[in-house]
Amino acid sequence: MADYKMHLLVCGGTGCKASESEQIKENLLAEVERNGLSGEVQVVMTGCFGFCEKGPIVKVLPDNTFYVQVKPEDAGRIVSEHALKGRPVEDLLYRDEHDLPISDSKHMEFYKKQVRIALRNCGFINPENIDEYIARDGYAALAKCLSEMTPEEVVKEIKLSGLRGRGGGGFPTGLKWEITARSVADQKYVVCNADEGDPGAFMDRSILEGDPHSVIEAMAICGYCTGSTKGLVYIRAEYPLAIQRLKTAIKQAREYGLLGQEIFGSSFSFDISLRYGAGAFVCGEETALIHSMEGLRGEPTFKPPFPSESGYLGKPTTVNNVETFASVPVIINKGASFFNNIGTEKSKGTKVFALAGKINNVGLIEVPMGTTLREVIFDIGGGIKGGKKFKAVQTGGPSGGCLTNSFLDTPIDYDNLISAGSMMGSGGMIVMDEDDCMVSIAKFYLEFTLDESCGKCTPCRIGNKRLFEILDKITKGLGTEEDLSRLRSLCKVIKDTSLCGLGQTSPNPVLSTLDNFYDEYLAHVKDHKCPAGQCKSLVRYNIDSEKCTGCTLCFRNCPVGAITGEKRSAHFIDNSICIKCGVCYDKCKFDAVSVS
């Protein structure tokens, strides 16, 4: 990038692309050319910046100017003002909570506490240009391994780093590699698990879209350590952009001799091919993933044998998640001690989280292990949307649990989250506010599990169905206190007897909400009330005759004709007709409609 004086980085992640970032790039290019700046200003489409809430993002280097919610028609001003005259376009700048524009992204709360290792190149380089990756120490780690280190030394370094599987299980990566390395076989495989499927999670997709070479490089390093010559990326077909960038990256790596025969003139050969998943959540489980790759039904099988001993086509196979791989080149380049100095005692390094739900800064972040939930949600995430009260955060997706206020100061690591009744999972973090009904939330996750269970084992196939039915009954006001104890008892059996991780963790959202929000459950079954006002069967809409002006707006919008009343006089809702859609509540300008 040295030849250019200025770089205009346009986010090319799936989210920003859906908001016309491609057009922004085209317009910027045209404006640069029109202003005769082609030799000085480079326009680059990068991976995700993480700050999806305010996308599309355009970042200007070297100034670190961070433009948010840019529209294609803003391209002219960015070039004529900023590039030509050096004056930032103020109204496009990110504004902090006090509505003050921040000109240098380093000062944004969103980025201040982040440490980006796995995401180091996302939003920085053009993922479709291998030279940009190489310019940022890309493939230096692979070169170092092949020329200076024995496979055993590399494994030792990874073990020393304390890196644990980022897909959710948290199994020590170095140990996994060592087991495959020790297994004797004529062929071994390296598999990258890119079957990301948690609701609201997009960590792996962003890494593959923003920095595919880091994964390719790490897979080759893993191949070198474990004695594997073939790598496979199992990626869901719903990730077309990630697939396209991965394909481009593999092609470029082959052209540069970084994949293929005798890499860097060594005796090590390695190549990668892609396998597409049809979007089954259970295929994130490694044995199910392997069966799916083999052309069989995506169903888990009992472990042992572990894939490290007998995996793809019965051969020793190392299966690691995208984020795990993306951290590897940094560990090799900077040394295990760089990595293990970050984090907590048993959880080293950083973790990527996808922030979603009722949070101001929806997006992708990477923080050191040990950062508290409070820092993540309130400092980086900017707190709760609309100034509402924080109620809970669900970590670990459908396998995790809902954590409340009392856990806000818990440092995030694998073990703390498990003892809090949740889990790390792959990094989805969904924030809930006071308007969320926790019974409904538990039901939502169960519904997801129900759809995604493979149906092989009884507890997951039928047990989760029964859990869902009990929850459904409760949200309809038909539950009893006995249902609550039945719910808990069934949860425990499902956890205790399910075949794979999906079933063993699927009751977690129910158990954790039962533990942390028992009163809310009780309100549903004893008083037949939904404190959050979310369970439609349990709420009533009323019009306050004092406040109602008779504007008729509610009357005109009610889809079922449940509202009656004369113009300029108070209106009424007939609850026997009302379907509780909430339109009247949303439409009323005088705060006259209330929910009880």
Partner: protein
């Protein structure tokens, strides 16, 4: 031997490395309940999906419970099979299965034979604490098998049999979660699939999800119709298994009681399919010798090896999967169909009964026989040669219905002329039997010499694939034997690749041959039962005065009076058939 020491229910035990917790416990008399798990020892059949979770046990130091069927023993393991936690989990799992299962046990075809029913009883389930939506699937009726998927518990035994053992591939798991079930692809009907009706899925189904089509009602109607003459034939394997339905030990021969029971049921003539088995040997043996002679005479077009064609599931299998080889099997019809054809021509004439007033019922160890007798080519002007094929189980049902106390029946003989048979006909019911019977006749016809020994032990056994060479007076005849269609497939692939060295091959679809047929009393995963039935047939053979098909006097008479000679034109018309390419449908 590498031994592992562990403790199960406070009892120390030392077992071989690689043993499962389930098997280890069984060694010291601890019977952990299981449901989806099934193993047929020595037949290489094992179903171990680890899906039902009934056999879960508590392993000290382990976070969750372990399925005993899939968990290998480890040094120092401490296992509790009946802790509160294990019992509670096991009962809950069974309650969950029951919560998605019709509770129509009183009228279920599998009542009394249902593994789920006995398990619920075993665990003392008296209440189902979790109620909710139940699976509802369309019932699928084919010519031989009924699928009532509401009763499917997803043990996957049928899928394992259909794919791993039979290599048919008609059944597999479809859908996800609560809707997951085992079915032909796209939930198509079984009769549109490549199903061979071998019935091994029925044989292993623990519940009433897979059963045979019930023809007992039709047979009762025929028996009570005064205008009909109803005759019955009974296959060799039936006599070695029927007793089990009445509390006899496996392997008890009930030939005499069987004949007596059929007579009391009201059949006008009680005949034996073994007679037709002898007839098959004459036809098929002659065909083999003809092909062999032509081959030795240098005929390049002759098709060898010749494959047996007694088994209807096997016939349907190659029609679907190897249509290009359809000239290789013998053109001889199966004994059931030869019997029907002779009964409705030769015998009908003899007793002066019009074909349409003669009803032929067969008692078969098989469900595919129901399909076979419905094949169009085995009928004359729409009148089938065999009207109804009942399974061994259906016969037991009929016997009960007719208030017959089976065990106290006297031994009686079959009627003549179609009831006389030789030891060769009897052993048709086991793997290796057809080819042994064929060798006994072919040797003597080919060499013109008398055999010195009749027991060809080299052709016997339970190995899935066997081969032997029999010396035909200096000419080595190479013989192959396969039971289980997966094993048959291997031999067919060799033939296709031109690698087969065999002159003759016997194929039976069911593991063990007809003794392990899909219509036999349920073996509940106990392979010993199959072995005992096999031994029973060899015993019966040994005890027969005549043990070579060509020496059956009634067969000789049949040729003299009616057919002329084997492979005659009349034989071709009545006793042989053709095969169809079913690869497209």
């Amino acid at each position: 031997m590498n031994m592992i020491n562990l403790t199960i229910d406070n009892r120390p035990i030392s077992v071989e490395k690689g043993t499962s917790v389930l098997d280890a416990a069984a060694q010291i008399g601890i019977k952990i309940p299981s449901l989806c798990y099934m193993k047929l020892e020595d037949l290489n059949i094992e179903n171990k999906p680890g899906g039902c979770r009934v056999c879960v046990v508590e392993v000290e130091g382990r976070r969750n419970l372990a399925p005993a069927c899939c968990t290998e023993v480890a040094e120092g393991m401490v296992i509790k099979t009946h802790s509160m936690r294990a019992i509670h989990a096991r009962r809950t799992v069974v309650e969950l299965i029951l919560s998605d299962h019709p509770t129509d046990c009183l009228k279920c075809a599998k009542a009394g034979n249902c593994d789920l029913q006995s398990l619920a009883q075993h665990l003392g389930i008296r209440e189902i604490h979790y109620q909710g939506e139940q699976s509802t699937f369309r019932e699928d009726t084919s010519p031989a098998i009924i699928r009532e998927l509401d009763k499917c518990i997803r043990c996957r035994r049928c899928e394992m049999m259909c794919n791993q053992i039979q290599s048919v591939g008609a059944l597999s798991a479809i859908n996800r979660g609560f809707n997951a079930v085992v079915s032909p692809a796209f939930e198509m009907n079984l009769d549109h699939s490549v199903c061979t009706y071998c019935g091994q899925c029925v044989a292993v189904c623990p519940t009433g999800a897979l059963t045979e089509v019930d023809h007992t009602g039709a047979v009762i109607r025929a028996l009570s119709d005064p205008t009909k003459t109803v005759i019955v034939q009974t296959a060799p394997a039936v006599r070695a298994a029927l007793g089990e339905e009445f509390g006899n030990d496996p392997g008890t021969l009930v030939t005499g009681k069987l004949a007596a029971a059929l007579r009391r049921l009201g059949f006008d003539y009680v005949f034996d399919t073994d007679f037709a088995a002898d007839l098959t040997i004459l036809e098929e043996g002659t065909e083999l010798l003809n092909r062999l002679t032509a081959y030795l005479g240098g005929d390049q077009n002759v098709k060898l090896p010749m494959l047996t064609s007694c088994c209807p599931a096997w016939v349907k299998f190659f029609e679907h999967q190897f249509p290009e080889l359809k000239d290789i099997p013998s053109s001889a019809r199966s004994p059931q169909q030869m019997f029907g054809s002779i009964a409705k021509s030769y015998f009908a004439d003899k007793i002066g009964v019009n074909r349409k007033d003669l009803i032929v019922v067969s008692i078969m160890p098989c469900v595919a026989k129901k399909y076979e007798c419905s094949r169009e080519e085995f009928s004359v002007n729409g009148n089938p040669d065999v009207d109804f094929a009942l399974t061994t189980r259906e016969l037991a049902q009929l016997i009960n219905l007719a208030n017959i106390d089976f065990t106290s029946l006297p031994d009686e003989d079959f009627d003549n002329p179609l009831g006389e048979s030789t030891g060769a006909g009897v052993i048709f019911g086991t793997t290796g039997g057809v080819i042994e019977a064929a060798v006994r006749t072919a040797y003597e016809v080919f060499t013109g010499k008398q055999l010195e020994r009749l027991d060809f032990t080299e052709l016997r056994g339970m190995e899935g694939l066997r081969h032997a060479t029999i010396d035909f007076n200096g000419l080595p005849i190479h013989i192959g034997i396969a039971h289980g269609l997966g094993n048959a497939r291997k031999l067919l692939e060799d033939i296709k690749d031109g690698k087969s060295q065999f002159h003759a091959i016997e194929i039976m679809s069911c593991p063990g041959g007809c003794i392990g047929g899909g219509g036999q009393p349920y073996h509940h995963g106990n392979a010993e039962i199959l072995k005992k039935r096999q031994m029973a047939l060899y015993r019966e053979d040994q005890g027969k005065a005549i043990r070579k098909s060509h020496e059956n006097p009634y067969i000789t008479k049949l040729y003299e009076e009616f057919l002329g000679k084997p492979m005659s034109e009349k034989s071709h018309h009545l006793l042989h058939t053709q095969y169809f390419d079913r690869s497209k449908n």
